[in-house]
């Protein structure tokens, strides 16, 4: 194949168009969906944050017992601690999964459990901090067989 200016132009435009069509709207929509969901649910603005980590397998064979680990970076002092973490599965028939409550000084801000997912979806965690802020994290989980709920 000869490398002409016309060829370069069309292929570049094609690639850019593809990238724009495939990546941007999908990514933007994904983020909006989660934020809209949380807004409808809590009526408050949640901030995506690296301090809150929701660790789940990206693919899992069964939706009945999907492992889930949550860690929040927090000194857990009286002045600065995590009050609670809520977990939602927006594609489940009942979206609420679990809520964990922590206390400063005695408990650490990490927890693991196993959950059911009715479909592949973004699982969302929402941490309420002692200063009133809401931190948000999500994890995409593809389950091969859907957990019956």
């Amino acid at each position: 194949m000869s490398l002409t200016r016309r060829h370069m132009l069309t292929s570049t435009i094609g690639t850019v168009a593809c990238a724009v069509a495939l990546l941007t709207p999908k990514r933007a929509r994904g983020a909006d969906e989660v934020e809209d969901f949380l807004w409808r649910l809590t009526g408050r603005k949640a901030t995506p944050s690296n301090r809150l980590r929701l660790v789940m397998p990206a693919e899992f064979p069964t939706g009945y017992t999907v492992p889930m680990s949550i860690t929040v970076d927090s000194p857990m002092t009286e002045a600065d601690h995590v009050k609670s973490v809520r977990v939602f599965a927006p594609k489940n028939p009942l979206v609420e999964v679990v809520q964990f409550h922590f206390v400063p000084g005695r408990s650490l801000s990490s927890v693991s459990t196993r959950v059911r997912l009715a479909a592949p979806q973004h699982v969302v965690a929402l941490a309420e901090m002692s200063d009133g802020s809401l931190l948000m994290a999500k994890a995409w989980v593809a389950v091969a067989t859907n957990g019956c709920l």
Binding site: E96, F100, S110, S112, R116
Partner: protein
């Protein structure tokens, strides 16, 4: 699962599991009738009488609910775990922790 003794101010891990069907109330039996919901809806861990960790469980928590969390060993005391079922029945377990 809890260690027997822990150094003061060290962090230790608690692993708790209870055998339970966790019937979600969304399933139907062979005649099409809804099977009523019966799940463990709350887990509480108390340390020396004070609540240190609580989990409010909903239908999407797996059967045989498993929880793993971390506590700081502040003093000798009793760890009390209690699971509350729909209908109000509770199941409890005690473990004395020795702080060295």
């Amino acid at each position: 699962m809890v260690p027997g003794s822990v150094a003061k101010n060290d962090v230790f891990t608690v692993k708790a599991i209870i055998q339970h069907q966790m019937e979600t109330g969304l399933r139907t039996d062979s005649t099409g009738k809804t099977i009523p919901r019966k799940i463990i809806n709350q887990f509480v861990c108390r340390y020396g009488g004070l609540e240190v960790f609580r989990a409010d469980l909903h239908e999407a928590v797996s059967a045989n609910p498993f929880l793993e969390f971390n506590l700081r060993a502040t003093e000798n005391g009793r760890l009390e775990f209690s699971w509350r079922e729909d209908g109000g029945a509770t199941y409890s377990l005690f473990h004395d922790i020795v702080v060295t």
